[in-house]
Symmetry: C2
Subunit: 209 residues, 2 copies
């Protein structure tokens, strides 16, 4: 499944106004937060956005496509809000713990952002029971930030700050997954102090050194 | 919300046959896996179990109660299958890494058990968007095993194998949460080798020692 129809050229793209696109994204995110993924429809999104449903079908092939693109746009907004240095990579100041803590604090802020919470929960819940949607959502929305962590761990390995035998793709789960589980399953409160602690435990281990 | 009505004595309990109880649990778990939590009803469970819906209402006050008790029963079965030494605590052989790895391998087996997967995903998905249900499900179904991990970390602290300043309730998330996220969100494959690696990273840290 591709996010945009790519088989044909996009003669409408010049007419695709920023205002309509924004209205459709806003409507899609608001609707999925209110009624859940299964009851969100292209018709409902179109009605709420004040556009014809053919306008949506011209640009996207399914409600999953509209929603995933709306989420991508929301994530990009959040990255821009955080500052340009966080848009494509985790800063490398040479202090791995400090860099990870700074990025995780931004994630804590995002998880608490009401624009993000409702629609994100609706999409995440559907991904738990719909494996295809879950895998696509992770690939499009989560994997890019996991790759940024993996890259930062690799540069720390090159700097001798992380053991060379550590798998970066597993290592990053020591701080990403606890935060994700607390958010998804309400297993505990989320705070800067908590994510700072995760980074310290992950880097220096629980056993006495 | 309590799992069983406790305000009144249970005069029916002697007539509550094991066979009906089992049929109701099986029906509840099968139904939630097939149609999801929102469309599971007491009426549907009763019809599938071949009992009157009053039979269910006599013993439980809501579909959440029936489902949570059905899950508790399923978890207890899984614990019994794993062996009596795993029923109430994580074994303490003196080797923390080995003990954690052994229990996590049992969890890997459980996550791959088809009896468990469908209904567990349906309940977990609903818990993501229904905070009250999510919190109750975690308290009833997940928190007891988290407490077992916390207890095992505490005994390792007493044995000098874990730093005394470590918070056991956070420490356990370094192995529990990555496994949970891979299962919930399809962020990666689940295997014994993976959970073994998580334990090693958590105990000994990513930084060179």
């Amino acid at each position: 499944m591709s996010l945009k129809k790519s088989a044909q050229p996009a003669p409408d793209s010049t007419r695709r106004s920023e205002r309509s696109r924004r209205a459709i994204y806003d409507a899609a995110l608001a609707l999925v937060a209110e009624v859940g993924y299964p009851r969100t429809t292209i018709e409902g999104i179109a009605a709420r956005a004040g556009v014809g449903k053919q306008t949506i079908y011209r640009w996207w092939s399914s409600k999953a496509d509209v929603l995933l693109e709306a989420f991508l746009d929301l994530s990009e907004q959040a990255s821009r809000d955080a500052g340009p240095e966080y848009e494509f990579a985790i800063p490398d100041t040479g202090d791995l713990a400090a860099d990870l803590k700074a990025v995780l604090r931004l994630t804590v802020d995002q998880l608490r952002d009401p624009r993000f919470e409702g629609p994100s929960r609706a999409l995440a819940a559907e991904g738990v029971v719909d494996e295809q949607l879950g895998r696509i959502a992770v690939a499009k929305l989560l994997e890019p930030s996991l790759q940024m962590y993996a890259d930062r761990v690799r540069s720390a390995q090159e700097a001798g700050q992380v053991r060379p035998d550590v798998d970066p793709r597993i290592a990053l789960e020591l701080w990403v997954s606890p935060l994700a589980q607390r958010w998804l399953q309400y297993t505990g409160p989320i705070s800067y102090e908590y994510t700072d602690t995760l980074v310290d435990y992950a880097l220096y281990g629980l056993a006495p050194r």
